[in-house]
């Protein structure tokens, strides 16, 4: 095998030798293609696997941890919440609409494959700045991504209930599109991606297989090159209608007991689904590609096995139940094609009109894929960027900075985005997109689920370990602010090229930080996705672990939202700041610096805060709750006033810095992003009980003001720093994002 062929398949010489040892012979063309995709970073997690093992994945509620199509946690009433987050970063950069749309389609398949009815979608998006040199391109990408997410989710009829969008230079050449789907399944009937039972038929159902999505690196053999010079786009085209039919048909089939296992054909298509199902069941799978429905003529077994055409499922059903299965799919105008059967030999055997073209032990493809413990090196940039000389900052008027922050795309209202998403189809959405967390009720029960995704790349750039802790803490805090108890998490780890020791160091630090935070907050990780090689022209993105947390609300009617609920309520700040400006939006926006130490976090105190929120919400002591994050307590207070019809507040804050930084005191107090802080409001008379609950849990808490009037007045130690009509502030905040896109149209 010459180097050129190996290079095209993204395989090293050592990996090739390993293939030869696994087979006891030289691989065929088709076999090398199969190995190349299964041993790719995307499918094998070869760079990340050793580290992902450090994440806590068990807990009393965990019904399914990592390793299946999605994770699942027990939510009571005999039900399970099934959820996972996945990235579709690179395709979304190349073709924003279809890249994002197929990302949504892929994660939805992972959820219904588990036997769950998908009920909510969230997406975490990162783009470059909307203005500046790449502004035009970024706006085009963002517009396409948003339309793509909506185009798929709105059509298939799953509500997009939340998520977040942030903007920063390193994402200009590499946007992030991370999509989370949540479904609900009977806890005792989760479906696995397993092939078992010798002689059981293997079915293919869904869209026909085309040449789309065969990855460039693994695309062609020399022979194939000679036959077709045509370059196929690496991004696939989504068909939400086909997926809707698949979704309904599969859920109908799952009502019967005819099904053994099912897996969607996502990355690495037919290859991945066949060998993974076989490996999980300890069985072999034999298929003949002549039975695979094909969209184009003359496709080779290599192409059929590696195609990533969308909306396809692989099923193993009980022998003797074929007619029943076929009837269900036919009702939905789908044709289930029998392409092979389960065997006893543990091999993936691929035939082409009866002739064997590949014969590989499933274990070799799945369990025995290479695992690398790649070298790590602490990046040199860290020492420099962590130093922040606050004395060098020219501090302006807080009132003006406040307005600038409200208009910052990362902070401004994302209504322009989520208005394009169907946020309420299936009539479960209690708190819609744009609030702190998305909340969906579980029909037939009293309960609701709150979900949030978070991850601050800037923090992780300054300190990946602490940044990952902060990401989990913030996502969990956000669901706690809805009155929920966090019960499970899913992670999407977006990083650069792991072959660079500095990037690998970021990755390891982040995973270890995440693991520590999961243990401290008692939130298991039930699955997720790793996205590496997020770089363009050698420039990596900020290390960006995006964490999705699912929380359980016992009484849906007790759901809290961020908006102040009534005139004359007491405003209480839970937690306390220490004037930390490192990595803040304020520092970036006003002083153009991404520097300093990112906020510190005391995980025990964070846990106490979240327990306090759940308790106070359940006891009906709170009228609203909102986390302090980007833009600090000043922005949090403003957001509490928005969507209230202009209800104002008068607040006075305790200075958070010593007098030695006198000129900075106001800015640090107002805009610092110290973690573990929540602005809550309660009826006058209830605040002593809130303070008492806080005291017993060791959470600092202080009444900082009262709602009322139509202006937001925030003082620091008695001196008014911000005094702004809520209507004016809300106009700035709600109109800022749209302005960038109006400019495009002009």
């Amino acid at each position: 095998m010459n180097d050129e062929v190996l290079e095209r398949h993204g395989l090293t010489r050592e990996e090739y030798d390993r293939i030869v040892r696994a087979l006891g012979r030289e691989p065929s063309e088709t076999e090398i293609g199969i190995f190349s995709v299964m041993w790719s970073e995307h499918c094998s997690y070869k760079s990340s696997r050793v580290h992902l093992k450090k994440l806590p994945t068990r807990g009393p509620r965990v019904l399914q941890g990592p390793g299946e199509n999605a994770g699942a946690v027990d939510i009571g009433d005999g039900l399970a919440a099934v959820f996972k987050i996945e990235s579709h970063n690179h395709p979304s950069f190349i073709e924003p609409y279809q890249g994002a749309a197929t990302g949504v389609g892929g994660i939805i398949r992972d959820i219904f494959t588990m036997g769950a009815r998908p009920i909510a979608l969230l997406n975490a998006l990162r783009f470059g700045p909307l203005d500046g040199p790449d502004g035009v391109r970024t706006r085009r990408i963002m517009d396409g991504v948003v339309r793509g997410i909506g185009g798929y989710g709105n059509s298939i009829g799953i509500a997009t209930v939340g998520g977040e969008v942030a903007f920063d230079e390193p994402y200009a050449g590499n946007p992030l599109v991370n999509v989370l789907c949540l479904g609900v399944a009977p806890a005792n009937a989760l479906v696995k991606g397993t092939a078992s039972g010798i002689g059981n038929p293997v079915y293919y159902v869904g869209a026909k297989t085309g040449r789309d999505g065969i990855h460039g690196a693994t695309m062609a053999s020399a022979e194939f090159d000679d036959r077709s010079a045509e370059k196929r786009p690496a991004v696939q085209v989504g068909d939400p209608f086909m997926e809707k039919l698949l979704l309904e048909a599969c859920l109908e089939l799952m009502q019967t007991d005819a099904l053994i296992g099912v897996q969607d054909m996502g990355a690495a298509g037919l290859t991945c689904s066949t060998c993974e199902m076989g490996a999980r069941g300890g069985a072999g799978v034999e298929i003949d590609v002549m039975h695979v429905p094909q969209r184009e003529t003359g496709m080779t077994p290599y192409e059929i096995m590696l195609s990533e055409s969308q909306e396809r499922m692989l099923l193993v059903v009980k022998k003797g139940r074929e007619a029943e299965v076929e009837r269900i799919f036919e009702k939905w105008d789908l044709h289930a094609s029998r392409i092979g059967e389960v065997t006893a030999d543990g091999l993936l055997r691929v035939k082409d009109r009866g002739r064997v073209v590949a014969e590989i032990p499933n274990r070799a493809l799945v369990d025995e894929a290479p695992v690398y413990n790649r070298p790590v090196k602490r990046p040199a940039y860290l020492d420099e960027v962590r130093a922040l000389d606050v004395a060098s900052l020219t501090i302006g008027r807080p009132a003006a900075d406040f307005r600038r922050l409200l208009a910052s795309p990362t902070i401004a209202s994302k209504a322009w985005v989520y208005r394009q998403y169907d946020t309420m189809v299936r009539t479960n959405t209690i708190a819609a997109a744009g609030l702190t967390a998305g909340v969906v009720r579980i029909k037939g029960t009293e309960r609701a689920l709150a979900i949030s995704t978070d991850g601050n790349g800037r923090y992780c750039y300054l300190d990946p370990r602490r940044g990952a802790m902060l990401a989990l803490a913030e996502a969990a805090r956000n669901v706690a602010c809805a009155g929920a108890v966090p019960i499970g998490a899913t992670n999407c780890l977006n990083f650069g090229n792991p072959e660079r020791p500095e990037i690998m160091w970021q990755f390891v630090e982040a995973v270890e930080g995440l693991a520590e935070a999961c243990r401290a907050l008692d939130i298991p990780i039930t699955g997720g996705n790793v996205s590496l090689y997020n770089e363009t022209d050698g420039r990596a993105i900020y290390p960006t672990p995006v964490i999705g947390v699912v929380g359980l609300i016992e009484h849906a009617s007790r759901t809290l939202t961020r908006a102040f609920a009534a005139d004359g309520s007491s405003i209480i700040l839970l937690g306390e700041g220490t004037g930390e400006l490192g990595g803040s939006e304020y520092l970036k926006l006003v002083h153009n610096r991404v520097r300093g130490e990112c906020p510190s976090i005391d995980l025990a105190r964070e846990r106490a805060l979240q327990a306090l929120l759940a308790r106070a919400a359940a006891d009906g002591l709170l009228l609203s709750a909102h986390d302090c994050s980007d833009g600090g307590v000043a922005v949090a207070l403003a957001e509490c006033c928005f969507d209230t019809g202009g209800l104002g507040a008068v607040v006075d804050l305790t200075p958070e810095l010593s007098a030695s930084h006198e000129n900075l005191v106001s800015a640090a107090t107002l805009f610092g992003e110290s973690a573990s802080r929540v602005v809550v409001s309660s009826r006058v008379g209830d605040e002593p009980r809130v303070l008492e609950l806080a005291a017993t849990r060791g959470v600092p808490a202080r009444v900082i003001g009262r709602t009322g009037g139509t202006r937001l007045r925030v003082g620091v130690a008695g001196a008014v720093a911000i005094d702004c009509a809520v209507a004016e502030a809300e106009q700035i905040w709600s109109g800022a994002l749209e302005m960038f896109f109006r400019r495009t149209a002009a």
Binding site: N154, D239, F241, R419
Partner: protein, 237 residues
């Protein structure tokens, strides 16, 4: 009272209409698959929202060929109440139950948000319980809800009182700003000449419970129940 909710491949608000009729209102409800040819004794027929058959040609264009549509036509001809919501409205237009067509929203974007509609016509089985000029807060969720008809058709609709709902602001004024999609004359819903077939773009089934942000849409379902009860009284009298 029995509601039939027709399910086309690609319907995605079928469960929501069913839930509103059955669990919120406490009426009987049944899904009717589009390949069936009988409405199974239903008193009210709902064509739900979604993207029937994928909507790849034109919204609603293929659904009119579904086998069940013959039974729906017959039911409507006999005066049975038919409500088309969103994609269901688009299907009613394509199938010729109602005049006009849908264009893409004025700004070419999908819109999902609560809007306010004014009840213009209470003499339909779906607005019987509402007051003329009553404002309802109901969500929309569509990319093609920009109602269009030739001027003479619009004129006819207006003069014969067949505009059932119109987008308006909080005070009830019909303004350009309150119109989310550019629909002609702010039209959000219309009915046929006999007034038993109503189509509207907003989703009343999503506004039947306070927990979801509004219960204003319930009045359409309650009206249908009242209408059928009245008819029952007349029939037995």
């Amino acid at each position: 009272m029995k509601f039939a909710v027709v399910v086309f491949p690609g319907s995605n608000c079928d469960d929501d209409s069913y839930h509103a009729a059955k669990h919120v209102l406490g009426q009987e409800a049944e899904f009717i698959w589009h390949k069936e040819t009988s409405l199974k004794g239903a008193d009210v027929v709902i064509l739900p929202g979604g993207f029937a058959h994928g909507d790849y040609l034109r919204t609603g264009a293929l659904a009119r060929f579904s086998p069940i549509m013959g039974a729906v036509a017959e039911f409507a001809k006999r005066g049975g109440p038919v409500l088309g919501i969103c994609n269901g409205f688009q299907i009613l237009l394509e199938a010729g139950f109602l005049p006009g067509a849908m264009l893409r929203n004025r700004d070419l974007k999908f819109h999902c948000e609560h809007v306010i509609v004014r009840v213009e016509q209470t003499e339909t089985p779906f607005t019987l319980r509402a007051a003329k000029g009553q404002r309802l807060r109901i969500p929309i969720a569509h990319g093609e809800g920009n109602y269009y008809a030739p001027a003479d058709v619009v004129q006819q609709l207006e003069s014969s009182g067949r505009v059932v709902f119109r987008y308006c602001d909080e005070r009830g004024d019909v303004t350009e700003r309150a119109n989310p999609n550019g629909a002609v004359n702010g039209i959000a819903g219309i009915c046929n000449e006999a007034r038993n077939v109503v189509g509207l773009m907003p989703h009343p089934e999503r506004a039947c419970e306070g927990a979801l942000g509004s219960a204003d849409g319930l009045i359409l379902f309650e009206s249908a129940v009242a209408a059928m009860a009245q008819e029952g009284v007349m029939r037995t009298a």
